[in-house]
Symmetry: D2
Subunit: 427 residues, 4 copies
């Protein structure tokens, strides 16, 4: 299905009167505080986040999965879904492909289809944590780290193919997430596993086109429960440094031990020019993959505060990170969940843009802790919904995306088109 400009416009029209009042008030308030509100709105309007191809169906846990109706059954339908998200939100203009869940068999047709949906291609994702039917060797005991050179070769080869697919589609980066690790003490030689991984990554790295980047994701546990070969940012950073200038670390918000100060990691990575990618989600316990901002919205704001600071203090030439939502949708409509996530990201970003950097630096220079904290609070307490609505309007999207999704009865249309039994590939 497709959402037309007319549908959007008509929904927005009904909101304009109230919105104008709210936006004016918000602008007034911000400008009284010395903030250039139009600039903020424009920044928010320019922000886009990629949607992974595996996030459009119902998610699950090891205890089971409850189907959602109207799930996309192939890559074309997935791109269509992202097209819907983009039409509604104006901020989801790219897809991040996962191979082999979503192999673009007919590249030209995919490119045409994506173009019609207004969707481009963000980072490519490889998968060496599952065996595919008929696979000659198994990833059960690891892939890039494996003790057997044959398995490592297979995994390296797979990653190279993922790059090749990406080249055809116009992608510019490869994300490597490894499930490699061990469940029991003794299972793995930590050092050999890390050295094997470095060596394997080097072979993949050497296959990268000159204008590509490689993002190395880290995760402390799951699906391995004793050790992971790349458990933390330190290990990812070590690998990225050894590989070279095109290699970066990737931060997934759910991939940290309890109580980790993630915003500090973001700051340190940007300082060294090595923050390449970002996976958004939220969690209370582990890699819960909940809707962005649903548990710790203040932490998300603090992370964006570091990102905004980093954009403006970029001595290390850190590239703009590749943004992606990486969540699971166990009890919500996946498309509504993604719209909520986009809203949460934009909220945090808008509030971070409202931070009075001059006042903050002034307070820090005097160790006036209360004043410094209050600068952040002033921004966080601000109601930025009018800014988000305005930004969406400016990019031709729905001012209230979830309401629009419901008003247009999208889910039922998808069910009518696709039925209730189809299952999207993914977790």
């Amino acid at each position: 299905m497709k959402i037309t400009k007319d549908q959007i416009d008509s929904l927005n029209a009904g909101r304009m009167k109230r919105h104008s009042v709210q936006y004016s008030y918000c602008k007034e308030q911000c400008e009284a505080a010395g903030i250039d509100m139009e600039w903020v709105t424009d920044q928010v309007a320019a922000f886009e986040v990629a949607i992974p191809s595996w996030a459009l169906g119902a998610g699950g846990t090891r205890f089971g999965r409850f189907q959602y109706g109207g799930e996309p059954g192939n890559l074309y339908q997935k791109i269509e879904d992202i097209g819907v998200l983009h039409a509604l939100s104006g901020s989801a203009g790219e897809v991040s492909l996962h191979i082999p869940w979503d192999i673009p068999e007919d590249t030209n047709r995919i490119l045409r289809h994506a173009d019609q949906c207004g969707i481009g291609f963000n980072a490519m994702n490889s998968n060496t944590f599952q065996d595919q039917p008929g696979q000659s060797l198994s990833y059960k005991y690891g892939s890039l780290c494996h003790v057997d050179a044959g398995v490592r070769r297979l995994a390296v080869q797979h990653n190279k193919e993922v790059i090749d697919y990406g080249v055809q589609l116009g992608s510019k980066s490869l994300t490597v997430w490894l499930a490699d690790g061990s469940n029991f003490p003794g299972q793995l030689n930590f050092r050999r596993a890390l050295q094997n991984t470095l060596q394997s990554l080097r072979e993949i790295y050497d296959h990268l086109p000159a204008d590509w980047s490689m993002f190395i994701e880290y995760k402390p546990y799951e699906p391995n429960f004793y050790s992971m070969v790349i458990p933390d940012w330190g290990t990812s950073h070590f690998l990225a440094n050894r590989l070279g200038e095109q290699a970066y670390s990737l931060v997934d918000l759910g991939h940290h031990l309890p109580n980790t100060n993630i915003e500090q990691i973001v700051a340190t990575l940007m300082m060294t020019g090595k923050l390449g990618g970002f996976h958004f989600n939220d969690s209370k316990y582990g890699d819960d993959d909940l809707t962005v901002g649903s548990i710790k919205p203040y932490q998300l704001f603090l992370i964006f505060n570091e990102l905004v600071y980093g954009f403006n203090h970029n001595e290390s030439n850190n590239p703009v990170p590749a943004w992606m939502i990486d969540a699971s949708h166990n009890v919500k409509d996946p498309l509504e969940d993604l719209l909520q996530s986009l809203h949460a990201i934009e909220t945090a970003y808008a509030k971070a843009l409202l931070v009075d950097q001059v006042a903050l630096e002034d307070a820090q220079s005097k160790n006036d802790v209360v004043a410094a904290e209050r600068v952040l609070h002033e921004a966080f307490q601000q109601d930025v919904r009018p800014i988000l609505a305005e930004a969406r309007k400016r990019r031709g999207a729905a001012m209230a995306p979830v309401e629009a999704f419901r008003a247009l009865d999208v889910r039922n249309q998808l069910i009518r088109e696709r039925g209730s039994q189809q299952t999207a590939t993914g977790l």
Copy 2:
């Protein structure tokens, strides 16, 4: 397949010479410390742990599952596998059935088969965390806690049926583990959910035969990632108290927040006479379901120290808990994994029996912290492998079960019998 007494005897014969030396030395050492070693050996020999019917195939995570060859394809084969475990270890004489993964359709035939394998029936387990094909209403948003009385009725009815199956098989208890909970703030009304659960449990409780017990399991998170209706021992204890004398709490070692002092919970539950069941496993991060004793063997010993103390100071008439292993086998042969778990449990139990309770109490009464701790250390540092071997020998089992499993080439026989593609029901 079946393992014969002759096979066991022949394997044990080759070990006797060295074992005699080791056991004599161990006995000498213990008796010099005033411990009645024969009594310890007999206690260990009398200890049995139930095997759940879902633990005999390869386990998995949400990221995938790697098949193991020779997995049992039905309940008969599962009971056969437990028969193998029991023949090898002498301590796995009961199965804990999970409904509907393992419905005993022809009860008489199952009973006969189990009897031939030397296996009895421990606690019954219900499942309201997955929908079964054709199920009229869904557990997607909970079961006993559900806002819809129809769903609650369905779940209550299911639990009653599980009791009925159990009655036919000679089981005496029902374990209720609920995945009920919420993934997002606002999803659930905490209080109504808990009250609905209490009311549903009451209906199930009223269906219990007079000589049955109900065990209420708790878990802080997974598969729900914001709240669980029964998150901790306090909630389980509250429910058990409200229900009555046949209701108890069940402790699963993996179901606690980071750093929880589990041995203290065990002590408190026994003090109030409400420790009904026990699920063994080990973990480093969450409900990792690793082999028992593989990560924190000292904690396991401390837990057994409380259990042993509780057996001997039972003013509250706490029943002997129903013991069960509840682990997942992602990278090990499931049967070897279970044999390792049994070994770890017996090790902890034997060491706890070695604790000099008089010396411990004396040190505690003087607040001599160093002396009290050293009493525990003395027991923990003792090498109890000879005691375990002797206990196994006395019950006619293999003195070295894993070695015997390999010497008898059990896995390959199972693969020959069953093939490599069969998948056991379970997670």
Copy 3:
């Protein structure tokens, strides 16, 4: 020092023009959403939180303490400080006394002084975690749980005296926080320690006047690092139930293991009518005792959402909890820190009052998770600063308390009055 009505009025006058615009806008917005804003403002205006007598000086850690100038040197000065906080915020009208740090030696004089400062007496706090000079027996190895009946008697007697002091001052409750526990396995017999504690509490309970309440605090660790005798709400609830109707649990936000869902504990305790007291603070790692709302403001909102729900659904006759701030001020001016905490509490309360309970219940009844969550988001995203300012104005306090504190140069006046070297009693 004292702050006069004129000073407050004059500061407020300069804010009125802008405030009127903001408050009108906020009211308009709320009323468009069907909320009776005046009622919300009145509720916020009526909310008060007690200040503990030990929270008015610089806090410290085991690594050291950095003095703040102008710390109060005695109970009179402490009450004066709370008077300042109350004049500025309008919501800090009571002190919670700690014995023996702040013994009210001349009760009549203290009562008169407090009356002049506009301050009443909230819950009394006993201390059996430190030895006092000349104390006959030591609390080194516990107090109410101690193996030695003599130490238990001493601790019971101390608690009775604290009640007696409280009776003279018009307090109506006793808070018992125990540091009792153990640092090493074996040190303590868990069960005997808990039974001793129950018996000791019973003796204290029997000394309570009929119109008094006893609050039993729990904490998982620190200052003991292996076990605490009352580690969790379950144990506190067990004790409160055994003691009787005047005994309640007390929740301190910092006293939980990582990732605990505190709002659910609050809901469960209110459901059983046993939530008696509340200590506010915030934390990222352990009992960090940071400014309220400084780390997890959304969690605080969710907790208040349960509290507000509980006030309106009080079948269990749960009393209004005794509210208190319990934080430490290591790098901020203690008075500014407390003003920030009051602001954060009122913010969370106001937002919780904005929650559309009808819409929430409706969404929950349909398992419309997205809609339910959005009801909470709508309230949380609202900027409630105008409501707080209006509430403060209505109770005659400063609309912007921290700004007023600075404008009136309070700290420097205190330093002039008291010097820089005085140290307040407390941690």
Copy 4:
């Protein structure tokens, strides 16, 4: 006080008969498993761990401190205490000095005294987390990271002086632990703080003699509760790499977030040649500073397994780390506590030496997880107490140090010499 060779010999004599039997048996068992037991005993006998000068008195928490009698009142007495530990254990031959708690004012006299006590000088420790009386500028808001260049200079200067003291005493390394960090979001600019720290460390590094090393300690929280400037191994490693070849990371076992896999960090640091120092202790919750091995003895064994592997696979030329015990003694006699810690360290080391590295590598190469784990279990289950006793005997120490400490009535002698009121400097 001093312990004589005669006292030791006489105590050992009474143990020899039983010991001979135990050692012979242990040797027999090990050699049957192909282990060169004499080599293990010699390795253990050669292992020494430094004692910090601040660990000889009672420890405390922010809630208080309970004095122990006979605490050393000055550096001479501290060195005497370490002399006692060394005489008893044979493995505590060095002191690690903390400046300014233990300034060696008369270097020659200290050197003579230490020499008489048989004690040498290990790593020097600086302190910039507390202000000293009369200090011109304060470390309240940090030291090497401070926004004010004057404070940074002061802290750098202090570290240089610590090096100078060390040079006079024959020390060869400086340990830098920074409490620098922030309690609240906004307080610190993460990047500037880290850059300032790097710059400050560089100035200190430039003052290092050519044969010295610098150890950079990391810690995730406490005494700062929002961020620490060097929170994890990744940051420490980054700094060490930037500084140069004489800079290393230091691992303190208590300085990790919940559930961290510390043995993996140890392996990675050794692989890169950057593991310089090691602080031993144990913990259940945070930086609990409990006796080594008291909570997680299996983890300690796994850590030593990596260390032993690293010693034998040293392509990176990692130096032998500087070993030190860093614990706090809140409820135990500090000297007994340290003897227990030494015992736990030697136990873990001995067991790690028993690991059959060939069998382990073989199992790993086949992904035989059960076999690999069992290699570790075989070593861990072995009772190594006879090895430790033999090693102590060989180095002329007491075979049973804690028993000897009590038999010789050391504490009471110290109380008679020093009284009960003296307080050792330290936390």
